[in-house]
Amino acid sequence: MATGTPRMARLRFSLPLPSTPPLTLGDGAILLALAAALYVGAHLALHAPPVVEGPAISLDASALPWYAAFSVARMSAAYALSLAFSLGYGYYAAHNRTAERIMMPLLDVLQSVPILSFLPVVLLSLSVVLPAEAAAELAAVVLIFTSQAWNITFSFYQSVKTVPGELREAAAAFRFGSWFRLKYLELPFAGIGLAWNSIVSWAGGWFFLMAAEMFTVGHRDFRLPGLGSYLQTAAAAGDLRAILLGVGTLVAVIVALDQLVWRPLLATAERLKLQTVEGGHETQSWFHDLLMRAWLVRQLDERLWVPLMERLDRRWQDPAPRTAPAAAAAPRRWHVAAVVAGIALLLYLAVRAAQMLATLPLASWLAIAAGLGATLLRVCAALAIAAAWTIPVGVAIGVRPRLAAVLQPLAQIAASVPATALFPVMLLVLLRLPGGLNLSAVLLMLLGTQWYLLFNVIAGATSIPQDLRDTSALLRLPAAERWRTLVLPALFPFAITGAITAVGGAWNASIVAEYVEFAGHTHVTTGIGATIAQATAHGDFALLLAATLAMVLVVVLLNRLFWLPLYRLAEARYRME
């Protein structure tokens, strides 16, 4: 997953650190629920139309602004959905202890699921209930939503949970109702986290948008008019001019949004920072300053925003909130009934899913296992290559501020292009080589993942305190010894954080990278992504269900049993704070 944010360097994903064992009964229940949901999708897919006509994509330059607008509209719709979901879910989970115990583990599993693996099931099942075009649009938005929502939700939830105690008490002592508490305390406190995570989510969203816009499988063409399908059509036609135009437009759109939306937003959020001392680094944004000085903005603020807020405050602030602290409400009868019914439905669906899986011949299971193995090898290869170049380069940049000033903006622009957008172009070149698809699959994973590592390594290198570096210089430690005792331990937590995100991206990439229809030909290599795509193309829904489920299971297990312990070790022992 390519993310093009200048802030990656300063942002560490705040993975939750549950104190529970890596796998719990609750996780099992959640995976069961996922299986049930997938079964419903696969079951619906049985009735999917056999042929879906895709849109005609024009390579004319005059069509580009429209395509760009369509793409941005899809992103915006998904982002709005993500934000609304995150605020609601995070708020509820933070304020309701019973709900919290179910909602947070659920989120934790959802965020480690490789989302692109759901694309075929979602597309096929939606195309049963909706016209193909609407199904594809909706699937794209849902897909982007599922890639964006989780980390924004986590961030908001954590912010609400960590509001300083005295501020919370002050709000209570001055009799803030829940609206006032949200408006004056929780939202401002969560502001920076929301802004950062929105930026990361938005950048990640491009990866999935491109994949969704160019998705074709068998006789079903689910492409959508947008920058992704433009680039794919241009590459298939070998039209170099159109490719350059498309990539140029994409970069221009990404840079413009960064300057006009995200930077001003971040600059605003940083004004809310809970800092006790003046100073420190603040985001500069010319557009933010321009807006703040604009006459029109000030007028809108005074005439519209302030009176509106005044009215809302008067309406929703209840100066005498419930006097007694709410006693734990006894569970109502219908409440219990609903839960029982839900569990029964879940079990029924899980049994049906198992029945569907039972129809699968042994050969298919072997194919799934082989596919998982092949994809795992590719993921490891991509990670190894990424580590091999990003660690030395990242450290070199991190410890030399002057070099960083020159190179970091370049790296950020390179990183801002979603890897999936470049994939058709890579195919154009690499498919001519022997083992071309295998090579391009690894390359796509690498392109998507290396930036996470690079920016995290730079951040890690920058975090090494100057006095420790001076000490190792004074001790005249040889280079190898210095790396062993200082640099690598200091990098460890950052590299692990980067690697966890990178690996998640690499698994996603396999769905689009291992099976491609390009310029009228179908290219396939061994892998779980290919298995899922082929099952979709051939209408083998039992295989589709089995392969998707297997992939989800393997990725979640790897996360819990391998990466999470490493992450804990890194946080407990090697964090320099």
């Binding site: 300083p164 005295e166 501020l167 008490e169 002050a170 209570a172 002592a173 001055f174 009799r175 803030f176 109702g177 006032f180 004056y184 305390l185 401002p188 502001g191 004004r271 809310l272 920072k273 809970l274 800092q275 006790t276 001392v277 003046e278 005044e310 405050d313 008067r314 602030q317 100066p319 005498a320 909130p321 419930r322 006097t323 007694a324 602290p325 407990a572 022992r573």
Partner: protein, 432 residues
């Protein structure tokens, strides 16, 4: 509910048998127990006591931020349910909303009570001026010094015209000069009745501050948090700290807070699990203890506690735990507000570092918690035990405090070179 008595008849605030416990029945931990307290209109009352005696919790019970688990809090005769609408708090760390300006921070308190904009602005500006922050209305808290921030805290609290103003160590996060200036301004406003407040209740660990401001000082003790007694301060305002009567009062309060060193069995307590009370360890750093003993030794073996507190400067709140540690280890005893070195204390203060280590390892074993850990480790086959084992074992007696108690015991044991702690495995082992 009983009918409210006529105004003037009842005290403003009355607590009877109030308790606050954490955890459930067998493993219950009392932060406060059996609290009876009355505050009348016109009074300025200070709560003093060692850390851990629950004085801040008591303040939160009185404002209704926390509900008691036993007894009742009555305000003007009515039983309190939820946040007390007639009381407000000034917080130790100011608790200003960092994203609001000075004026907005004051205004938001009025806004929450649905005061209309024109009146709201006017009142907020008036209050900002009253506390001497005119010209800083549009500044953000982070642009202000600590003293100025706390002035905003006061302005915000006064904005809602509370009958009962609660102050939670309001001056302890400020530098000495700002604190003194702000105290002067507070008492000035209070004495000339410039605020609508009828009574002030302040929590502090600074005894001189309490004597300077209060009409009445309530002394609290810990294990469980309870009220030991109270004293009326009859001094006239303005009070002069150099005054003999002032100093005598300070000494009396110190003597009440530190008490008199108890008899040895009572002082030391018993091993966890055995009959009797396992006493909590004061969270004191033993390396700082050496400094304290040296200082007292330099003063002929008898140190005046208020003066020792002054010498500690900004770390004055470490004094009481240190004094308690010195008592527990048998280095000193407390009498009439003075710390008096015992022979072992003299030896320790004058010894070289190796001799000190030897002395302290013997003394630390007198402390039941440390001895219990040491003996448990000795009995273990590989002399290595998880830290969690000790925490769990203490949970029955100390509740949520258990982990902190084990940490302090481990720190003492490490300092005395009795046992070692490995952070990676989270295990304790015998030293050497």
């Amino acid at each position: 509910m009983e009918p409210a008595p006529a105004p003037g008849a009842a005290p403003l605030l009355a607590l009877s048998g109030v308790a606050k416990a954490y955890g459930r029945a067998p493993r219950q931990f009392y932060a406060l127990r059996g609290i009876d307290l009355e505050i009348a209109a016109g009074e300025f009352v200070c709560l003093v006591g060692p850390s851990g005696c629950g004085k801040s919790t008591l303040l939160r019970l009185i404002t209704g931020l926390v509900a008691p688990t036993g007894g009742e809090v009555r305000y003007r005769g009515e039983r309190l349910a939820g946040v007390n609408p007639h009381a407000t708090i000034v917080f130790q760390t100011f608790a200003l909303f960092p994203w609001l300006t000075v004026l907005e921070n004051v205004e938001v308190a009025l806004k929450a009570r649905r005061v209309e904009p024109p009146e709201r602005h006017a009142r907020a500006e008036q209050l900002v001026e009253l506390v001497g922050l005119a010209g800083f209305e549009s500044a953000y808290p982070r642009e202000l010094s600590g003293g100025m921030r706390q002035k905003v805290g006061f302005a915000r609290a006064m904005a809602v015209e509370p009958e009962l103003l609660c102050l939670d160590e309001p001056f302890s996060a400020l530098d000495v000069l700002s604190a003194e200036a702000l105290r002067g301004e507070l008492i000035e406003l209070w004495l000339r009745r410039a605020m609508s407040t009828e009574a002030i209740l302040m929590v502090t660990h600074n005894i001189e501050e309490a004597v300077e401001l209060a009409d009445r000082i309530v002394v609290m003790a810990k294990d469980p948090g309870r009220i030991l007694g109270e004293m009326h301060v009859g001094l006239r305002h303005p009070r002069n700290r150099k005054d003999v009567a002032f100093q005598a009062m300070v000494d009396r309060v110190y003597a009440a807070v530190t008490g008199r060193t108890a008899t040895e069995p009572e002082l030391i307590g018993t091993v966890p699990g055995a009959l009797g009370i396992t006493r909590r360890l004061p969270h004191a750093r033993l390396e700082a203890l050496a400094g304290l003993l040296e200082k007292v030794a330099a003063e002929e073996g008898r140190g005046d506690l208020p003066r020792l507190a002054q010498a500690l400067g900004p770390h004055a709140d470490e004094l009481l735990p240190l004094v308690e540690a010195a008592e527990r280890l048998g280095f000193a005893r407390v009498e009439q507000g003075d710390l008096i070195l015992l022979p072992a204390g003299h030896t320790y203060a004058e010894a070289t570092i190796p001799v000190r280590k030897e002395l302290i390892s013997g003394r630390a074993l007198r402390v039941p918690l440390v001895r219990w850990i040491y003996e448990t480790l000795q009995r273990d086959d590989d002399q290595r035990v998880d830290r969690d084992y000790f925490v769990e074992a203490l949970r029955g007696e100390f509740g949520d405090e258990a982990a902190a108690q084990v940490d302090t015991a481990v720190e003492w044991g490490r300092y005395a070179e009795l046992f070692a702690y490995d952070k990676d495995s989270d295990q304790l082992s015998l030293e050497g």
